[in-house]
Symmetry: C2
Subunit: 241 residues, 2 copies
């Protein structure tokens, strides 16, 4: 039996007049037909709109590409899951028996979706300003904490700035190969940083994407991070002439 | 010199108090620094939010996947370009000289982006309700015209329903090949409709996408449309045993 919702509503700063909307937002599809899937769709839209506006106003000098990337980072599943955990949202969820037993109440996707559903339910219950106030309450600290000199930059830009600040030469991107049939090709690009003898590979559905993947792999090497992108470590490759 | 904006504002149903926002929304990046790129980012968010709400309310029984696809069709470049042409938006644009000479005022991407920018500029000027009224005015007829028994369904569902309604057997999807390295594979799937001796191919970054592409190609053959997807017409393939 899920916990009573007063404490959750206090944390969210909204008391639902239409109580059934709150119940629905907290109901996973495993529980039955009257679940939160449509509210999640609605909440996703209002979340993107409000966070989009917050970033627009907070960063009056950032170009739209940077704003889009910052927004994507703020509203992704990881970020929503983190907020849902802070709200202890799992306590309030209504799950089917199987989902409950298999730990659904702490599953990141279920928690993130329920949080979006709450935004959708607030939008319907109190209009745009109610959803906006709720989202602002949850995201404003996160937005204040953004360092715009680092975050939201694409990998090629970050790599270039990292190298320039250390007076190294620029990386060289070379198209090594394309595979697949026309209209569905995969591009294989190499990123080579001569001064540091680093070579990484990137793949993607176009050249630009493949370059970004290769640059991400190079940044990961430079920062000593584990490489989780589609890259081939330099050690596995013959160094180019 | 762009046309005066009174007529445009009448059609949009909003008179800007902050006139510079209207000017900025109509200024392409080719014209200079104070252009509409940030407003377009903002407008994209409010457009998705409002159209999302309109569809949610108009189709109380559609699942969220269908709503998402309907929304994607309504807010894509083709649709926005069409609305922009109806508004004669090209007359009001401020473009750089080169862009002007090369026909930028009728380029679909420039027109679609400017329309989104106007939504963003209305959002800043008059708040959410002003943007909502504008978007509702432009999209409500389009939403009323949607036939939910057809639109927003994915290709496999449409193909299955088409075949069932004619008492044919279901299509068979077979994974024929995968190509590319791990993490960047391309899947090649065949869709075969035995009763009609139709075979199409689809490619995609996963099996599900490849099946949808193959189903789209099959639907196109059945409806006698020109095939524009990544498909191989059946005539080019040996018929399976």
């Amino acid at each position: 039996m899920p916990a009573a919702c007063q404490s959750l509503e206090t944390h969210l700063g909204h008391t639902w007049r239409e109580r059934h909307l709150l119940t629905q937002a907290l109901t996973h599809r495993s529980h039955g037909a009257d679940n939160n899937e449509r509210l999640e769709y609605l909440g996703d839209g209002v979340l993107n709109c409000v966070v989009g506006l917050m970033l627009y106003q907070h960063f009056p000098d950032l170009p739209e590409g940077r704003l889009s990337r910052l927004r994507a980072n703020l509203v992704n599943q990881d970020s929503l899951h983190e907020i849902a955990r802070e709200l202890d949202l799992g306590r309030y969820l209504r799950l089917g028996e199987g989902e409950l037993k298999s730990g659904g109440a702490s599953r990141p996707s279920i928690l993130a979706d329920a949080l979006e559903s709450l935004f959708g339910a607030a939008f319907l219950d109190g209009g745009f300003e109610a959803a906006r106030a709720m989202i602002e309450g949850l995201f404003s600290e996160r937005i204040n904490a953004i360092n715009p000199t680092v975050q939201g930059k694409d990998a090629k830009t970050r790599l270039q700035e990292w190298l320039q600040s250390r007076h190294h030469g620029l990386p060289r991107y070379t198209l090594i190969d394309t595979s697949g049939q026309a209209h569905a090709q995969t591009f294989h690009v190499e990123c080579h940083i001569a001064a540091l003898k680093i070579t990484t590979m990137g793949q993607g559905c176009n050249r630009k994407t493949a370059e970004q993947v290769a640059a991400t792999a190079a940044m990961a090497q430079l920062e000593g991070k584990k490489i989780t992108t589609k890259s081939v470590p330099a050690a596995n490759k013959a160094q180019p002439a």
